[in-house]
Symmetry: C2
Subunit: 432 residues, 2 copies
Amino acid sequence: MALWLEQASADFESRFAAFLTTKREVSEDVNTVVKAIIEDVRARGDAALADYSRKFDGLDFTVTPMRVSEAEIEAATAAVSSTVIDALKLAAERIERHHARQLPKDDIYEDAIGVGLGSRWTAIDAVGLYVPGGTASYPSSVLMNAVPAKVAGVPRVVMVVPASGGAINPTVLAAAKIAGVNEIYRIGGAQAVAALAYGTGSIVPVAKIVGPGNAYVAAAKRQVFGTVGIDMIAGPSEVLVIADKDNDPDWLAADLLAQAEHDRGAQSILITDDPALAKAVESAVERQLKLLSRSETAEASWRDFGALIIVKDLQDAVPLANRIAAEHLELAVAEPDALMAGIRNAGAIFVGRHTPEVIGDYVGGSNHVLPTARSARFSSGLSVLDFVKRTSILRLGPEQLRKLAPAAIALAESEGLDAHARSVAIRVNLAG
Amino acid sequence: MALWLEQASADFESRFAAFLTTKREVSEDVNTVVKAIIEDVRARGDAALADYSRKFDGLDFTVTPMRVSEAEIEAATAAVSSTVIDALKLAAERIERHHARQLPKDDIYEDAIGVGLGSRWTAIDAVGLYVPGGTASYPSSVLMNAVPAKVAGVPRVVMVVPASGGAINPTVLAAAKIAGVNEIYRIGGAQAVAALAYGTGSIVPVAKIVGPGNAYVAAAKRQVFGTVGIDMIAGPSEVLVIADKDNDPDWLAADLLAQAEHDRGAQSILITDDPALAKAVESAVERQLKLLSRSETAEASWRDFGALIIVKDLQDAVPLANRIAAEHLELAVAEPDALMAGIRNAGAIFVGRHTPEVIGDYVGGSNHVLPTARSARFSSGLSVLDFVKRTSILRLGPEQLRKLAPAAIALAESEGLDAHARSVAIRVNLAG
């Protein structure tokens, strides 16, 4: 069902290049609708939010308040099984420990001529976290977004989550509590993004908005970008598995399907030097597909975007992997380090046969928010760095200024900026 | 001429809040035009570039080749005065030394249960640098963008610069040579951005595009974002000067005008506890305005967006500064550290009376590409981090997988993701 490509065939390069540019997402043009919603929320604030929630979620805020109460969060948490609560806590602890290592250090120093230079890092004051409703409402994503924000020192993390009929997935509320989310509002869509960016009577605006969402949420994030910061716009997920012949085809099939079950636009790719393994994996995928509750989604993804690529030598997988720049890269080989050394473009690497990508989705400690759709060529997964910002510091005394003044004046004059030149010259008695 | 605000007046808060949200830019809607240009360059490649350059820059690539030759770069460099060349070299060296300290370190480690975790940083393969034409063609900006890319280890830095009639500012070419730019093309506008993002017959595509530009360039960068990475979209520049009474009004006036001369939308703000100083600065601005070759621009900026704010106590300037979140913040006070401790939102801080912001524009060593229009609340100036990306690494053996499997399976099941659960369970003999 999936695409079959062999490096040895004459048309490999052209077919691989075409495969790389396959579009996996229908981009709905919702910009006009979203623009109107944002303007409405800016103009009417809470009243607009109430109207949209009544219309889209069947919610009456005079009955079910917009803000989720402490009591509701407590009750939800109590309703989740202790097995799941313990798993969430283990995940949160591991995420926290790993992300604490990412906290950047200030660097304040004096150079050889006595100029003080520095980089000082501070946490963003307030961050909004968008959590989708329905089946895409993942507690693990709440942890992956909120825990790094808290590790960064963000004092105020505000979560928004649409609640059709008022109900919010209790595990999502439990995860928010464990992660230390400060405020939770029962709103979603472009209107929730607008409320976070511009504020309303009851919601104080944030400085940055993170988290996944549908086409409306993505468009709203793009539109408010500049007024607030945003994280990456996530596309459909993908996994690339590089495997030698000594693998259990069932293990690899399960990994490919774990990606495919996310979304019809997800992509699962196997690269191997063993055609027999590829055939066996293909059969295992067919078998396991029947066992999945989301088999329809997984089957569509595998049929439309799945691929089995046969290379002559496993080392040939490296340049292909760098061009694919996969969100997730599994190295299911005996000597993963030899391949890993050559990998430049990948969101995350899962090393060896005993590291299924799914561990990284939940409890590995690393972040599961990773660059999709080849964007690992230029961007990174979510980290503490996304929740801090750097202020650069410069400090000169009269002596340092005298030393650097002539060069600064020369450059300012060459750029035709008189006031620039004067601002330096006047301090060292060189102004005209 | 500029706005005068006193903290002591009853309507201060409402007037300050209004001042904060003043729009300083006319946002031209050029999206439709830009979309057509990008599609044309994707479809027709070099032929489209040739047509646009003929139309907009009066250039014939069969006479003046699109790519700037080594000989032309050499000749341009030879034509620049040795004073300016030396100043560029000093600036480049200082920028390089400062930015080398920003190179992130890989962090590969094993946790308490033997799980291997890590962050590995690699340089982006290829970066495009947009340089505007005409009067906004600043050699210093070439250094500020290209040097950090080279420090990061980017092997291929490609510069594009529109050249009306074929001519490129020789100092820009000299700066590119000093910074180690690898390829230079005589193209500009949305078509240059499209060529960098998608490639043409003669230009190999890049993975990220940085650098300032007009409304067409900014719109094109937004549209290609996702296919390639982009830097921030720069808005008009601003400076906030916090000053005590013991300042020379002429120094401060020069600093305010150095910002104002950039752009009619630039903003210069003085906050002081001394109304007499504010009055003196205002007079000095009027006097110095007459001396500037760009007096018309500076006067418009100062009249429309300049402000003098009188606070009761200098410490009251700190919360105001955090709300303004200025691109540039000068602390022209006797005890700058006391104020600096409270500053959270600022692109760069210039400490003490002998650190005019202009030093940071050219030769301080820190970057002059900084967050504008209040975006210092959530973003940072350009740094080496903008030219690298992080791959996260996870490595489990059978023992670690057994330990983490139950929690991962519990979370996968709670999210209704069967194949996720199976991908872990099958490896620890727990699969159904």
